[in-house]
Symmetry: C2
Subunit: 325 residues, 2 copies
């Protein structure tokens, strides 16, 4: 089972065919950064048209069983996720509505303070808010995964404790390996994984030691060290592949509608656009490089298979339905 | 199988318990009159809270199989419908979105001209619009029933012809029996039923000969005559029961936001509110009266069972999924 638990591509037939060529069974696809409910629905409508146009290449997945169906029929399963709680606006009832429409991951904050939690770029983190506690309980009830990839440390640790079901950091790397603001300290990763949660490794260059020049060996050794620390079973991929996107999209991701000024996020005035990907991971046909790199670290086949998708598959199976009583 | 294919009650635990007491297996419940998309979603959120609060009394149904589940577990299945295409606004993509959220019936117009079709109170009926043809095709594709209860004659006949799947008039009576503007002429009923569609008989007093004083015998004889004309298999109930609603709701149904003036619809200045129901049908515990009344006309048990719900059940089975290729 090959699963990439975070991509935000400029989706096209070309990319869907690359997914098939790469044998990708499932992708968690971002459908909202700063979009409100109606705008998120418009993005789902766009996906619905792609599902209708390319029924031989992709299908929507709402469950692990749907991923099985996709694999059995030679298609890539698309699982919806939001990088921000903006799609639920201030309305907890929208959690179930969006779950019905297929949303299976939702970040509680994206860099900034949200109604639910604090983002990783804020100076202070007061933790999960009053509404945040209510929304976590509702997400637990319906089976929507709490994702803390862009949240601040205290909020993330509290979310892992408050949530009655395992949560996730879908795309980041260990701070100890590359101290980017978005990478996660060991106590944060431990809080998530020791409660059964998942940590997905990112190949977004700003999250990599050496940026686009990071070697495959360095990336895979980093994963091997994390596996020793946190347990292989809790690790997977969330490449953050933003293929074929114009730079206007990275500006939207960073700035949304929350400021009139430019915010370069992880970039800079000299490097404002999407950074180039490392040469060993350009698109969905390159996952074989990562599997080979993991084997080269000395991991056995079962461990490699788990990180390449088996662990996310198991997590989907346990997370996407209503809470069992 | 006991199915009422149109109610718009002021839903409450009391009414849900009456449904159970009356052995009602499924109800097509109106969730929108003039609501736009976001407002319709708010109404669905309200239903979701009721499904959560009363899991032993009601459940949402999206298919005939769900109605089976409801019956087997002693609950009433609730099927969402809209009396107006206002929930899709001007966006055809919302047809599939609302289908995913459970909408299974949608009227193409409600009394007035809509973007799709003409309503029965307009002076002229130019038939199904350009967008209307596109939306009918999309409803056919996803499995949402075209309902023409409040539409004008030409639009209704055209819809029956354009639609590749059977359509419905969920709640009305034959014009020949009681010439109310909302009741349907024989050629309209024939256009719907001869293409496999369904006609649901209404007990809303303005649709009854004699209004609230209409006798059970007169109502059931009217059904028996329609059965002779159009075939029993195409007939069912759509009582239009609006139990426990304040009169402000009938004003909303009639006036929405489309006029600043009072429009009395089927009522009048002297009789502006909800009319009282006939004494033989006050609430969901009274369906036995209708079954007995139908038997008294000389119908056999199979015919009575079909009209009391079997025919709608079969129609649900054929109509609520994607079109088979």
């Amino acid at each position: 089972m090959l699963i990439d638990n975070l991509q935000y591509a400029n989706w096209s037939e070309t990319i869907f065919r690359q997914m098939r060529a790469g044998g990708v069974d499932a992708v968690h696809a971002t459908i909202a950064y700063h979009e409100n409910f109606r705008e998120t629905v418009l993005n789902i409508e766009k996906w619905n048209r792609d599902f209708e146009r390319f029924p031989d290449l992709i299908m929507q997945a709402r469950s692990a069983a749907d991923v099985d169906t996709a694999k059995a029929t030679g298609r890539t399963a698309i699982i919806f996720g939001a990088q921000n709680p903006s799609p639920i606006e201030d309305d907890i009832g929208l959690v179930e509505i969006l779950h019905t429409l297929g949303l299976r991951f939702m970040q509680l904050s994206y860099n900034n303070q949200s109604l639910l939690a604090t983002g990783c770029y804020e100076a202070d983190d007061p933790g999960i808010t009053r509404m945040g506690r209510q929304v976590i309980a509702e997400m637990n009830r319906v089976g929507m995964v709490v994702d803390m990839s862009h949240s601040a440390d205290r909020s993330t640790i509290e979310a892992a404790e408050i949530s009655t079901r395992p949560i996730a950091i879908t795309h980041a790397n260990p701070h100890v390996w590359h101290p980017a603001l978005r990478n996660k300290r060991d106590d944060v990763i431990r809080a998530v994984t020791e409660n059964g949660g998942m940590f997905g490794f990112s190949i977004y260059p700003h999250h990599l030691r050496g940026g686009p020049d990071c070697t495959l060996q360095d990336f895979c050794e980093m994963i091997a060290r994390a596996a020793e620390k946190f347990g292989t079973a809790h690790l997977g991929l969330g490449t953050d592949l933003c293929q074929d996107q114009p730079d206007s999209v990275v500006e939207w991701m960073r700035v949304g509608r929350w400021t009139k000024q430019i915010d370069y996020g992880e970039g800079s005035a000299n490097n404002p656009g999407f950074p180039p990907m490392p040469d060993w991971f350009k698109d969905n046909r390159d996952f074989g490089n990562i599997a080979a790199g993991l084997r080269a670290t000395g991991m056995d086949e079962a461990e490699v298979a788990g990180i390449m998708g088996g662990n996310w598959y198991r997590f989907y199976r346990d997370s996407f339905g209503p809470a069992s009583v």
